[in-house]
């Protein structure tokens, strides 16, 4: 019964210089994406510590997506290149522990790509909705 109404909680870490502006643009252009995407603005995608991602899952996120500038376009020259390596390692490790790989994603969204931002979020929400609730990285104490 509840499955039909299930709406995943998504945490999106967005780079201040691109994806966050991309999200703004999506809003300005009246492009819709689910309200269950909670955006957290970070100064650069490489600010996202693996602990942030695990914490998000602990606090009830069903999916975590990190959005940064396209490779080569980092405001700080190379931040997103590091992000790419770090997230490749982390996502692979989560997968190794048997945690659904579709729950984490890294996307490059520029400030001009409002449409891409909305599309990415819609796609990600759809993917996570299909997966259902996050059970493998949940902290029961944080569930009501």
């Amino acid at each position: 019964m509840q499955v039909n109404e299930y709406k995943p909680l998504i945490v999106a870490f967005c780079c201040n210089w691109c994806s966050y502006a991309g999200a703004d643009l999506a809003g300005n252009n009246r492009l819709s994406y689910p309200a269950d995407v909670k955006i957290i603005r970070v100064p650069c995608s490489c600010r996202v510590n693996p602990m942030f991602i695990l914490r998000a899952f602990q606090r009830g996120a069903d999916g975590v997506i990190i959005c940064g500038c396209h490779p080569g376009d980092c405001h700080y020259t190379s931040g997103n290149y590091y992000t790419r390596r770090r997230m490749a390692a982390l996502f692979s490790m989560l997968d190794f522990l048997g945690i659904e790989r579709e729950r984490t994603r890294l996307e490059w969204v520029s400030a001009a790509e409002g449409a891409k931002f909305a599309a990415t979020m819609n796609d990600f929400v759809e993917t996570v909705t299909a997966l259902g609730e996050n059970k493998r990285l949940e902290d029961l104490r944080c569930k009501k």
């Binding site: 693996p50 590091y82 982390l90 048997g98 790989r101 493998r136």
Partner: protein, 332 residues
């Protein structure tokens, strides 16, 4: 058995002590039984004669001790390094964790170290004595008159069965002949787990990690874990030094622990050796090593001083996280 004997090491240490090359010796001290050796600092020939041991049970990696032992000492400290210890030694030097000038490193050959829990599983509890002088280990228990014979393949620690190198990558002096880097099967178990379904992998790790008592021994023994203030010591982290309240915290601790040494871990295997609950923690570290080898090219932490670890480096052509899985799926 080890090719090198206690006497050779004592002679070497005594000579270096008496000619003033070193002021103290980091070595193994005998315990109550034949297997419970403790790392200790010796300063005289007499102390060495009295308590120094070298046997199949001298598995502890001394490199990390150098961080604390090189502080506040006069002169240099002699340390005996097995091949795998030398990788940690280099890695610590890369990270400027101790003063190279304060150390006199003597490389010693290693035939692989024993895992006492494997020995116990075969001999049964109540070990009265262990003779490691022959090719096979002879274990006498309180309950049997005849010793049990155990072959190396049955008593060697997992990390030694899959030894990655008999080559010393750092030393001031070498005793015996140097060996070679070995083409080991150390990633086989990781690959096996990767080939399982996510559900199977989840069940595997759930079972292993559920035994964790958060004693922090894996962190405290790890030669790559040398932060002055660890995130797991920081009350603001909310998970400092305390037992895991649930499965989430078990995973959080072990993911972050392994992640923090990713690219710096030399695969010395101390984490699994010290785990009182026999959790195969080295598999998490090896997963990172294997991934980085696959994604960014072969890399062995500690092979040379001053190398740049994969996670603090990049190329503009790196794989996207999504492609990582695509690639593995097509491989499989």
């Amino acid at each position: 058995m080890q090719k090198i004997t206690r006497d050779v090491l004592i002679d070497k240490a005594s000579a270096l002590l008496s000619d003033g090359t070193v002021s103290c010796v980091l070595g193994w001290k005998k315990g109550e039984f034949d297997y419970d050796v403790t790392p200790a600092v010796f300063t005289t020939h007499d102390e060495l004669i009295k308590d120094f041991v070298f046997s199949d049970f001298c598995g502890a990696n001394f490199s990390k001790y150098l961080v604390s032992k090189t502080k506040n000492i006069e002169g240099r400290i002699l340390v005996f390094l097995k091949p795998c210890d030398t990788y940690s030694f280099n890695q610590l030097l890369t990270e400027h964790r101790f003063d190279r000038e304060k150390v006199y490193a003597v490389g010693i050959p290693c035939e692989g170290m024993a895992d006492i829990s494997k020995v116990r599983a075969i001999s049964g509890e109540g070990i009265a004595s262990i003779d490691t002088s022959g090719d096979k280990m002879l274990v006498t228990t309180l309950y049997d008159d005849e010793p049990v014979e155990i072959a190396p393949c049955d008593f060697l620690a997992e990390r030694c069965i899959n030894c990655k190198s008999k080559k010393h990558v750092a030393f001031d002096e070498l005793i015996g002949e140097d060996g070679d880097v070995i083409d080991s099967n150390r990633f086989d178990e990781v690959a096996r787990l990767e080939s399982l379904t996510p559900d199977e992998r989840f069940a595997f790790w759930q079972n292993e990690l559920s035994r964790c008592i958060r004693c922090n021994a894996c962190r405290d023994a790890c030669p790559a874990c040398t932060c002055e203030k660890c995130v797991f010591d920081n009350p603001a982290s909310g998970i400092e030094n305390k037992s895991p309240a649930n499965e989430f915290e078990e995973k959080l601790f072990h993911i972050i622990r392994a992640y923090h040494v990713a690219g710096r871990c030399t695969d010395c295997g101390e984490c699994s050796r010290v785990c009182p609950q026999n959790i195969p923690l080295h598999l998490l570290n090896r997963k990172f090593i294997k991934d980085m080898n696959d994604f960014y090219g072969e890399y062995q932490a500690g092979a040379e001083v001053g190398m740049r670890a994969p996670l603090v480096d990049y190329t503009t052509e790196d794989l996207e996280p999504g492609e990582v899985f695509d690639r593995r799926d097509t491989d499989a």
